[in-house]
């Protein structure tokens, strides 16, 4: 029995328009100037950590599920990806852009992108950090015009102690397939 303390972002596909506003908001929220114009003027690269994708007729932003026992943390050779109390974080300073995390993430939610760290540009892993440093909470939640994204703080999720979120997700897939049959 373990308590899932961490919050994660949940999307309601019925409400999502696929307008990419969350992507833009995410990218802007992770620039230094916190504004689109400022970022463009200072030449900072705009990279979003969530991606709106279309599968059949469903449009949907995907981002990191903040796995508790995350594969990306387990394979990171430098300890750049690590698990905090609330979420799975990346320290871009320590990242060597080896891409092992992108290889093992079951959601494909982590990417290698060009970021600016301590004044110099480098390649590093980027992923959703739930905008922990932002006073107003996640930027995508704030920006979504239809309020399709919301921050869920699960009170108590009963799961196997050793199973990671990713494995729970995989088990869910298996259950679905069995149900479909």
């Amino acid at each position: 029995m373990t308590q899932l303390k961490g919050p994660f972002l949940e999307v309601n596909p019925d409400l999502c328009l696929g307008c990419h506003t969350c992507e833009l908001a995410c990218a802007v929220a992770h620039t230094r100037s916190q504004s689109l114009i400022g970022a463009v003027l200072s030449g900072e690269a705009l990279t979003s950590r969530n991606q709106v994708l279309q599968v059949a007729d469903v449009r949907f932003p995907t981002q990191c599920r903040q796995c508790e026992d995350a594969p990306c943390v387990k394979v990171c050779p430098t300890g750049a990806t690590f698990r905090t109390e609330t979420y799975t974080a990346v320290n871009a300073n320590r990242c060597i852009a080896c891409g092992l995390c992108t290889m093992v993430c079951p959601f494909g939610a982590i990417h290698i992108a060009t970021v600016k760290v301590n004044g110099h540009t480098k390649r590093a892993a980027t992923k959703c950090d739930l905008c922990v440093d932002r006073p107003g909470g996640p930027a995508c939640v704030e920006a979504c015009p239809t309020k399709a994204i919301r921050l869920v703080v699960a009170k108590e999720v009963i799961q196997s102690a050793r199973r990671s979120t990713a494995e729970r997700y995989l088990e869910a897939i298996r259950v679905q397939r069995e149900l479909q049959k």
């Binding site: 994708l53 394979v75 050779p77 080896c98 494909g108 990417h111 479909q180």
Partner: protein, 172 residues
């Protein structure tokens, strides 16, 4: 022990020299040339990152990556072997060969990235060792998912989520 006793002891001991072509075999854990098992390499360039003397370089193209190694620059410290997350590198337990032209031992291997089973895009794919490190048990689902590129994995996630909602509503 006086010098005379030492000389007498040496004479008594006899010749300890190895005749030239004879050699002391290197120990089992001797660090010789670095060798790569290309099938196990994922192109993460951790080895190039830790290499103190820049003997290893990994260059990435769109569809391929090159792993190049110049023993002339190597310090034979073994950091690359320690750093390799997929155990693709190992060191020969024998002395590197003598050579006569600069750069004669340098090697470059090129490997094409595996292609995504969904969209056919080349991408870095996790090897078995990596999967075992990332998951407590590597199920068939993990295998299939990790053979897809990150974008296809995202799409797969969307699909299953939509499916889950649909089933949930249907059962309600």
């Amino acid at each position: 022990m006086s010098i005379w006793e030492i000389l007498a002891e040496n004479l008594r001991q006899g010749v300890v020299t190895l005749r030239y072509p004879q050699r002391v075999p290197p120990p089992a854990r001797y660090r010789g040339l670095v060798q790569i098992e290309l099938e196990d390499c994922v192109g993460c360039a951790s080895c190039a990152y830790v290499c103190v003397s820049a003997a290893i370089h990994v260059t990435e193209e769109r569809e391929t990556f090159c792993w190049s190694y110049d023993p002339a620059k190597c310090t034979f410290c073994g950091r690359c072997v320690d750093a390799c997350p997929t155990s693709a590198l190992q060191m020969q337990a024998e002395c590197p060969p003598i050579y006569h032209c600069a750069g004669a031992l340098a090697v470059t291997y090129t490997r094409a990235y595996p292609r995504c089973e969904g969209c056919g895009k080349p991408f870095k794919v996790a090897t078995q060792i990596l999967r075992q490190r990332a998951y407590t048990e590597v199920s068939g689902e993990v295998e299939t998912l990790l053979r897809l590129c990150p974008v296809c994995r995202q799409k797969e996630a969307i699909k299953s989520m939509v499916e889950a909602r649909r089933i949930k509503e249907a059962t309600r």
